[in-house]
């Protein structure tokens, strides 16, 4: 069973995504900011990480870079989920090592499909 880590400082977004992920049968971890996320990935090895960018303490870019710098997490897929929609923000996100960049507001249906495809690929390899 794939593990999904959701990182966002908006409680309602966390709540809705957690509901949807659990329903799909993923093992869900949630973090309210970058620091909590780092704590979690120091122990867990999620398959997919859904990351907000603008968060207190440690931002999404840093979390992403940390993931990419950690050997154990090399297979983790990172999806940025953010209100930052400028071209340069997307560029920066991709450079930080993201697999996918989605801007808010997004459709949960699309997100779920993407997460599913990413986990399937992951399971195959």
């Amino acid at each position: 069973m794939s593990k999904v880590l959701i990182v966002d400082d908006e409680p309602n977004i966390l709540m809705s995504l957690e509901f949807l992920m659990r329903k799909e049968g993923y093992e869900v971890f949630i973090a309210r900011d970058g620091r909590e996320a780092l704590n979690i990935i120091s122990e867990e090895t999620p398959t997919v990480v859904i990351l907000d960018i603008m968060m207190p303490n440690v931002d999404g870019y840093e979390v992403c870079e940390h993931i990419r710098a950690t050997e154990r997490l090399k297979d983790a897929k990172v999806i940025f989920l953010t209100a930052k929609s400028k071209e340069e923000d997307i560029q920066k996100g991709m450079e930080a090592g993201a697999d996918l960049y989605m801007t808010k507001p997004f459709s949960t249906r699309t997100l779920m499909k993407k997460v599913k495809s990413l986990t399937v690929v992951n399971d195959k390899t």
Binding site: D9, E10, S16, P56, T108
Partner: protein, 907 residues
């Protein structure tokens, strides 16, 4: 005394002088000058003291008492002006390569050939008699020594006349030491050295004689006065009250003479090597004049007491030692007088021949002769010729006319001739608007009157004109009597000076004011006036327009100056400027100016002008050319000031624009930030709403209460968006000023109490302890908007409530009366604000980054709106905080005067 002894003595002296001149010159040329230039300069200036001083002062003292002193007081009075006047003349001459007074004047006044010729003629006429009297003094002193005072006889046949041979010798000296090289701007160090030596010799000789008379024949100054008859002493007891005008005029004459006499101009201006040498001369000259006059009165008194009345007072100086049998002393005295004459003759003759050659001979030849080959060595030849001419004329004048006059009178007539140049020279230095017409009129008028009042009577005296002209006036017109013009009664010299100077000056001003300057003259006028600014690159400061073939110019220069010198000059020029020759073979205008200046040094400015204009197709220089070039003319001064003011205005505006632009950029960025922040803030609730809606749509099977929970969240997020939109709009209104506060006299504290009442529930529910202290501020009124003020209080109070811990929170609200304001403070014991955030807490959308508590209610605009409203009330809001210990928000509102509040009420 035997004649041959004196002749040998004179020859030895002259040889010594030649040797000294040669020594000084060669030491200088070898780069090891023997004397410092400032000492030579300082001791050359007393060339002013001629035989007239040496013999004539005593004569004048015997006749007129103290009056002889005026001739020396005048120069001393000019010393304070030297730095201003003399230095300026020196600088102009140096830059423009001018070495004579007529050049100096003509160059300034439109390079006028007329002025050049006129002034040179006047000067030569005015000065030759002066040279003659020097010859006369040598000849008569020679005779006094050889034959004794009583038997002196001037009617010697010229072949036996010492003065004749002396003239020859001096002519040779001048040609050897002065007119050796072509460019007259070259300094003549040998000449200057010889002159300085002469000054020292004549001073010592006179001091020795004076000392002998005062301390050997008498027992000091007091004794001289007490032992001489009362009638002789009487002249020195007081100055006659009616003499003041006489004194004034004589001093004025000598003031002009010390700088304008050809020999003085030569020594003080043309030969000056360093402007700072003036400083040394400024104390040496007065000291010198004091010393040389120290014994004049004792000698005069002693002479009139001890010598027979038949002895000419002009010869007392020699007669006194002779009468005592002191032949050695008499010989020394003779040498002193000899040196005074020799120095004067040498310098005056050099200067005059330069003047004659530069301003008269060369221009005349150049005007008539087309053949360029004739140019070669023309200036040098003409100068040498002029030396002979001048000395011969001077000799014959002495031989046939000067015999009959006392020394002093001819000297003063020469002085009066030279003062005619004073208005022109001062105008050249300090008046931009003086012009050639004024200069010509003044010069002609002045010299006419001078000749009429001072020379004409002389001609009558020597019998060339009938007595009646002088006594009854020409054609019997008594008001035109040469020495009594319009009935004015003064001594001839005073009379003549006053009238000539009056006519001269009036005409000079009249001509200058009535007629206009040509642009080219204006150019030169500015150049003279502001010489210190222009001296660096004079070639660039003068306008020259026209076409002049470079090769033609070079050919002329080679003819006149030699090809070696010409090459040097071209090199010198090209080391300072880029181009001397334009692509089309024309000479660069700067190069033309440069060469004209060099040629001025060789042939005088008028001739140089003639040469250039004959070679070139010149174009009329227009005023705009001059103005373009000159920075300092009064017109351009005005223009410049205007331009400066305008450019300052422009700069100021540009700065304002830059600032405004920066501000606009800031505002623009702020707006961008604002919009991106607002959209970000809107996306967040939208995202949640969309997520919940999709969940509910896609999962019809979910439990009722779970669905309700989601719907409640949707509702909350919609509220959040609504609030945000409202506040954005509110902020926008406040910032753009589109909402007016409805200003009324209000009681802020009452409004605060009201607000607290409505918020009581919130505080209570969070267990916050609230305390208040309003003192007696409740009735204080300000001009304000009740609803807006309430909004402010709600914002700050809810902020406090938000950040304190539940059940531990304490909020204290106080109001205090300040000097002219009301302060309301809201203190909480919440988390406080980090130091780095304090300044930014009122910024739009600044939400403290370290908020760990999830989901602050608020758009991030609350405090910005609060601040804006407080400011619109004329108040201030500030915050103090220590992290972990809470924050204090203080608002201060100004208390209006009650009458102002009353007017608001009535509106």
């Amino acid at each position: 005394m035997k004649a041959w002894v004196i002749i040998i003595l004179s020859l030895v002296y002259l040889s010594a002088l030649f040797a000294l001149a040669y020594f000084v010159e060669s030491r200088y040329r070898s780069g090891r000058p023997f004397f410092k230039s400032r000492w030579i300069y300082a001791f050359a200036l007393p060339v002013y003291c001629t035989a007239w001083t040496y013999y004539g002062s005593v004569g004048k003292a015997v006749q007129d008492g103290w009056e002889f002193l005026t001739i020396y007081l005048g120069p001393v009075l000019t010393i304070p002006l030297w730095w201003l006047v003399l230095r300026k003349m020196i600088r102009i001459c140096k830059v423009q390569r001018i070495s004579t007074l007529p050049d100096f004047v003509a160059n300034r006044y439109d390079k006028s050939l007329t002025i050049s010729v006129l002034s040179s003629v006047f000067i030569v006429l005015g000065i030759i008699p002066y040279i003659s009297i020097q010859l006369k003094s040598i000849a008569s002193s020679f005779q006094i020594l050889t034959r004794g005072v009583q038997h002196a006889d001037h009617s010697t046949y010229w072949i036996y006349d010492s003065a004749f041979y002396l003239s020859m010798i001096l002519a040779v000296f001048i040609i050897v030491f002065v007119f050796r090289s072509l460019e007259t701007t070259e300094k003549h160090r040998g000449l200057m050295g010889a002159i300085a030596a002469d000054s020292i010799v004549k001073l010592f000789a006179f001091l020795i004689l004076g000392g002998y008379v005062t301390y050997f024949l008498f027992d000091g100054f007091g004794d001289v006065f007490s032992r001489v008859e009362a009638s002789a002493v009487g002249k020195f007891e007081r100055i006659a009250p009616g003499q003041s005008i006489e004194w004034l005029v004589l001093m004025l004459l000598s003031m002009a003479a010390i700088m304008l006499l050809p020999r003085q101009f030569q020594v003080a201006v043309a030969e000056n090597e360093n402007e700072n040498d003036i400083r040394t001369a400024a104390w040496i000259l007065p000291l010198y004049l004091l010393l040389i006059n120290l014994f004049v009165v004792p000698i005069a008194l002693a002479g009139s007491a001890m010598l027979p009345a038949s002895v000419d007072p002009d010869s007392y100086v020699l007669a006194l030692p002779l009468s005592q049998g002191q032949t050695a002393l008499a010989a020394i005295t003779f040498l002193g007088g000899f040196s005074a004459s020799v120095a004067m003759i040498i310098v005056s003759t050099s200067a005059l021949s330069m003047i004659l050659s530069n301003s008269l001979l060369v221009p005349l030849v150049l005007k008539r002769v087309e053949n360029q080959r004739l140019y070669a060595n023309l200036p040098l030849k003409s100068r040498r010729l002029a030396v002979w001419v001048i000395l011969f004329v001077a000799y014959f004048f002495y031989k046939f006319i000067a015999e009959r006059f006392p020394l002093a009178s001819i000297g003063l007539v020469s002085f009066a001739a030279m003062i005619q140049f004073a208005p022109l020279v001062l105008g050249a230095l300090f008046w931009r608007d003086g012009n050639r017409h004024g200069a010509q009129w003044g010069l002609i008028g002045g010299f006419t009157v001078w000749a009429y009042t001072l020379v004409l009577p002389t001609l009558v005296d020597v019998g060339l004109l009938p007595q009646t002209v002088s006594a009854e006036g020409p054609f019997g017109l008594s008001w035109l009597r040469p020495e009594r013009l319009f009935g004015m009664q003064h001594s001839p010299i005073v009379h003549g000076t006053i009238w000539s100077l009056l006519v001269n000056t009036s005409l000079y001003f009249l001509g200058s004011l009535l007629k206009a300057q040509s642009p080219k003259e204006r150019n030169m006028a500015e150049f003279y006036y502001d010489i210190y600014d222009y001296s660096a690159k004079s070639e660039e400061r003068l306008v020259w327009k026209g076409h002049l073939d470079y090769d033609d110019l070079i050919k002329v220069c080679e003819n006149l100056l030699g090809s070696v010198r010409t090459k040097e000059l071209v090199q010198d020029f090209s080391s300072r400027f880029d181009a001397y020759r334009k692509a089309n073979g024309q000479a660069d205008p700067k190069f033309v100016n440069y060469m004209e200046q060099v040629l001025s040094g060789a042939v005088g400015s008028s001739s140089a002008r003639l040469l250039i204009s004959s070679l070139a197709k010149e174009e009329e220089v227009e005023l705009k050319d001059v103005i373009q070039l000159l920075k300092h003319s009064s017109e351009t001064d005005k223009l410049n000031k205007e331009l400066k003011a305008r450019s300052q205005e422009l700069r100021r505006r540009t700065e304002e624009l830059v600032l405004a632009n920066d501000r606009l950029k800031d505002i623009d960025e702020e707006k961008d930030d604002f919009i991106s922040t607002v959209t970000h803030e809107l996306r967040t609730p939208l995202t949640s709403i969309k997520a919940f809606v999709e969940i509910i749509q896609d999962n019809p099977e979910i439990e009722e209460d779970e669905r309700d929970k989601f719907l409640t969240h949707i509702n909350e997020e919609i509220d959040r968006m609504t609030r945000l939109i409202n506040e954005v709009l509110d902020m926008e209104k406040l910032e753009s000023g589109s909402t007016q506060l409805s200003i009324q006299p209000i009681r802020p504290v009452a409004i605060l109490e009201d607000t607290l009442l409505t918020m009581e529930h919130l505080f209570h529910s969070k267990g916050i302890h609230l305390s208040t202290d309003f003192g007696d501020t409740e009735d204080l009124r300000i001009a304000g908007d009740t609803d807006r003020l309430k909004q402010v209080f709600i914002n700050v109070l809810s902020n406090a409530a938000k950040y304190v811990k539940e059940d531990e929170g304490r909020v204290r609200v106080t109001a205090t009366l300040l000097n002219k304001g009301l302060r309301i403070s809201i203190v909480d014991n919440g988390r406080g604000i980090r130091k780095e955030n304090i300044d930014r807490i009122f910024d739009k959308f600044f939400q403290a980054r370290d908020q760990t508590r999830k989901k602050q209610k608020g758009s991030g605009l609350g405090l910005s709106i609060t601040k804006r409203i407080v400011e619109l009330h004329g108040g201030m809001i500030s915050v103090e905080s220590e992290p972990g210990k809470g924050a204090t928000f203080s608002m201060t509102f100004p208390l209006e005067r009650q009458d102002q509040l009353a007017t608001i009420e009535h509106e």
